[in-house]
């Protein structure tokens, strides 16, 4: 009996040791990768391929190529509105309920003709409708119909100066800590024919959860680039001085500025 219990305890000990070694090994690996990820040099090495991605993919794409456009029957039944909650301030709610009378889109920065546009002004401009696929960085896709002003129409009106390289979108929505959402795209994407400032979704005024009254559609990139609740567009030479300097709300939190992949 003594011998038997010894055998069992030995087996238990061995199994326990194996299990312990396994857990130690795995959590050790986990810690190594976590530490590597928090190491500034390692992280900037990993981040260095973002420029390669942008150059390679833009090179392969060429210009004048359009994202696939779908038909009405492909439109998603469910279109998840990700991101920050809508900016429910008194002014926003009042405006939303009365058709945005006091909302205006301001466009400025390095431009020859700064401008202000009411929603009716924008609706009076040339419009584009497109049924496109929205790809979230999380991995899901949804198809929606969007109508709005091609950004290039605004560009033609305000005439950015030659040194303007980016369009920065300042938004009304904030996160729980009060940080304002903002995003930026470069002039290549700003001039893409399917890059529009959308005020309609699925043949209805843009719903509040999808960024009313105005949101950006950039069909060459992931969803987080497509700013909602836009109130101001600024053309700049660099975004280094804006917020944390990485070109957008999600970029300041570690995501790629170039979200074409």
């Amino acid at each position: 009996m003594n011998k038997n219990s010894q055998a069992i305890s030995r087996r238990k000990l061995l199994l326990g040791a194996l299990q312990g070694a396994g857990v130690l090994l795995l959590s050790g690996c986990e810690n190594i990768f976590n530490q590597l990820h928090q190491n500034r040099k390692v992280l900037s090495l990993l981040e260095s391929v973002e420029g390669l991605n942008r150059r390679l993919l833009r090179f392969l794409t060429g210009s004048n190529k359009l994202a696939q456009e779908f038909s009405e029957k492909d439109i998603s039944r469910t279109f998840k509105p990700n991101g920050n909650p809508p900016p429910f301030t008194m002014e926003y709610v009042k405006n939303a309920m009365s058709g945005w009378p006091s909302w205006k889109l301001e466009v400025g920065g390095l431009v020859k003709q700064p401008g202000q546009f009411s929603l009716n002004d924008l609706k009076a401009m040339p419009a584009r409708s497109q049924i496109t696929r929205h790809d979230c960085v999380e991995g899901w896709s949804a198809i929606g119909k969007w109508k709005g002003v091609p950004l290039i129409e605004i560009v033609k009106l305000v005439q950015p100066q030659p040194e303007a390289r980016y369009a920065v979108f300042y938004c009304l929505d904030t996160d729980t800590e009060g940080n304002n959402f903002y995003e930026s795209i470069d002039m290549v994407d700003a001039s893409h024919p399917q890059t529009i400032l959308a005020y309609e979704m699925n043949d209805r005024p843009l719903p509040v959860e999808h960024g009313a009254p105005l949101r950006l559609r950039v069909e060459t990139q992931l969803g987080y680039k497509m700013a909602k609740y836009i109130q101001r567009i600024e053309f700049v030479a660099s975004y280094k001085e804006i917020s944390q300097g990485r070109g957008g709300y999600w970029e300041d939190r570690g995501y790629e500025w170039y979200a074409g992949i």
Binding site: L26, S27, C29, E30, N31, F33, N34, H37, L43, L45, L46, E47, S48, V49, E50, L52, N53, L57, R58, L60, T61, G62, K65, L66, A67, Q68, F70, D74, S76, R77, T78, K80, R133, D135, C136, V137, E138, G139, W140, S141, A142, I143, E219, T220, Q221, L222, W250, R253, G254, Y255, E256, A259, G260, I261
Partner: protein, 296 residues
């Protein structure tokens, strides 16, 4: 009596280990990315109720359980998938922290690792491919219709139901099938299905997601191929261990394999250069590239 054979050239050995590291990190960072949306769909879009596979956590009267669901078939995966016990209690996450990179829940971080090592994987594979194609090495394991007939005898041999191996060249028919499949089917498909998820590339090439049946199908294919790679890797490691681990490992590090029944390569005028550990022909100058000796 050791019969030394020089089996793996420098480029093969280098790219093998770089590839091993890249695949491991691509696998683990890929699972991190999957965790951001642990559902699989078919087609272009992802209607939530149409996911055919999901990993999720469910609160059952305060007890958090993890589940994997495949169509109508649900399995309790608590302890492995869907929920992980942490110091702060159960935390819903599809794949547990120890198999993802980084270990903490961070999609942006997973993407950084994944894209960096995707470049490494692709460039490394390209180097291997160019070098070994140029040297005619890949012909040795290219699966041909002739090999198809030898698959069954080879399986029987492995199962000890047949005494003689049907192997003729350096690689047996099962190895040829595995390597040809991985090199010429799996690898191109996993790269293409990965690229098909890029909205930028889809703008240029509308056909790219379409060949998989849509972007969500491409994502599903990419995920499933990952596990074919994992399956291959496990098979590979199993064979390495069971067919003489020390010898196999040494061979993939130094290039030299101890082989029975083969003439010692030193008998053919080959010797080991002690500095480079590369074989050199005794008759030729010691500095000359010894790699071509392998072709004998």
């Amino acid at each position: 009596m050791a019969n030394l054979a020089y089996r793996h050239n420098r480029i093969t050995r280098l790219t093998h280990w770089v590839n091993a590291l890249a695949l491991l990190i691509l696998f683990m960072s890929g699972l991190q990315i999957f965790n951001a949306y642990p559902h699989l769909h078919w087609g272009s879009k992802a209607e939530p109720e149409e996911a055919f596979f999901s990993i999720y956590a469910a609160d059952e009267d305060g007890d958090i359980r993890g589940y994997a669901r495949f169509f109508g078939w649900r399995v309790d995966t608590t302890g492995i998938l869907g929920v992980q016990q942490t110091d702060m209690g159960p935390f819903p996450r599809a794949f547990p922290s120890w198999i993802t990179i980084p270990g903490f829940f961070w999609l942006a971080g997973g993407r950084r690792w994944h894209f960096f090592f995707a470049w490494l994987f692709a460039l490394n594979g390209f180097l291997y491919f160019l070098y070994n194609l140029g040297r005619g090495h890949m012909r040795k394991f290219l699966f041909s219709p002739y090999d198809a007939g030898k698959i069954l005898p080879m399986i029987l041999y492995y199962l000890r139901l047949r005494s003689e191996s049907p192997q003729e060249g350096e690689y047996n028919p099962l190895q040829k099938m595995a390597y040809t499949g991985v090199f010429f089917i799996l690898t191109p498909l996993i790269i293409l299905s990965g690229l098909a998820m890029s909205p930028q590339l889809d703008v240029a090439f509308n056909w790219l997601p379409a060949i998989f049946g849509g972007r969500q199908s491409a994502r599903t294919v990419h995920f499933l191929l990952t596990f074919l790679f994992a399956f291959f890797t496990f098979g590979h490691i199993f064979m390495v261990i069971t067919t003489g681990m020390i010898n196999n490992m040494r061979c993939m590090v130094t290039g030299w394999y101890i082989e029975k029944g083969l003439k010692d390569s030193r008998d053919e005028g080959l010797t080991l250069n002690p500095e480079t550990l590369e074989p050199t022909e005794v008759v030729s100058k010691p500095e000359s590239e010894g790699l071509r000796n392998e072709q004998k």
